[in-house]
Symmetry: C2
Subunit: 195 residues, 2 copies
DNA sequence: GTCTATATTTTGATAGAC
DNA sequence: GTCTATCAAAATATAGAC
């Protein structure tokens, strides 16, 4: 016997994992119910349709991303910029390892978005915020004189592309030197153009 | 009235587009048949199941990728290396624009792969070949003395990450300066470390 | 809140005529 | 080769009892 809140949470957690592992379409409400330990109609007490469950999960994931979408660079200095950037990527890589489900389910929402504007607008927002967080960091680095201000937006986008795709590659199980790749990306970007 | 070969081809083309647009699960054989202009059972004359159709399409796509997975750098010189690299990325970006379906369907196979080893092994092969093609190009550049040989594998992987993810970002419809990002990636990588 | 029972729809797939 | 007719399975969703 569980109360409303506990069951609700359990459904969300179970759906998150099963949707990630098997995909939205290959995960039926019966399967989720069975895994949660309730009957299928019980799910309809909490969500009025499967699509609503999928959408609710999407909202939760979006909120969590938006929370972690900014960097703390209050203690950034001319000398520790490179260290800061390295740490950002390394942390992202480590997080990837600890939550294997996130990227799988997120990629499914990306596909959903290409067919449903409701998802698309939200994802574009997140993407823009994601790119902006790198740009803001570089702007600050320029402000404190840590780097020159040439092409900082493009550089920021380039780094975002690298770390984002590292996540995709990790999903496939390829054993590459991801931290090395990130380090190379940072060092490349920070190398100043010789005149 | 069509002959066997024509109908077969039409089914494949139609399935490719519909699977990309709506997804494997949301595209039924009835819908494909209707679009092709035949009845659903007619499809079973050519493919013994929906899964087989999906798999056949996968094989075709893989073959095509493998064909375009190598670069021609026979005419590479010390002075045109940067131009060569730029051209490779620009071409990839332009191709992306002309075939909007490719990345959509390919991402679905990536998800399939995470649940089916048959797809995974093939995709890992392709991925490895993809990364290797960049590595080989850099090795050749070292050979002809166009660049130093420090970290060339990592650099190659970094570039591959960038151009590959540009494709993903383009899929979302984000209007970024993709060619600028690629140019920045190339210039960053080619900048030699000051001693 | 959760259940059993059931309605409804759709899908993948087959049988068999032409 | 393609069709009509049909099957069996599975899914979403609802009704109504407890």
């Amino acid at each position: 016997m569980r109360n409303r809140e506990e069951t609700f949470k359990k459904i969300l957690e179970t759906a998150y994992i099963m949707f990630a592992d098997k995909g939205f379409d290959k995960t039926s409400l019966s399967m989720i119910a069975s895994e949660v330990g309730i009957s299928k109609p019980a799910i309809y007490y909490y969500f009025k349709s499967k699509d609503e469950l999928i959408e609710y999960l999407f909202d939760e994931i979006c909120k969590e991303i938006e929370l972690g979408n900014t960097f703390d660079y209050s203690d950034m200095t001319k000398t520790n910029l490179k260290h800061k950037l390295l740490a950002i990527g390394y942390q992202s890589i480590d997080e990837q390892k600890s939550d294997v489900h996130f990227n799988k389910i997120f990629n499914q929402y990306m596909l959903l978005a290409s067919r449903d504007e409701k998802y698309m607008t939200r994802l574009l927002d997140i993407q823009a915020g994601y790119l902006k967080s790198y740009h803001d960091l570089f702007s600050y680095a320029v402000e404190i004189g840590a780097i020159s201000d040439t092409n900082i937006e493009t550089k920021a986008h380039m780094l975002a592309m690298v770390i984002d795709n590292i996540g995709n590659f990790m999903l496939t199980g390829s054993k590459l030197d991801y931290k090395g790749i990130w380090k190379e990306a940072i060092e490349s970007v920070l190398r100043e153009q010789p005149l």
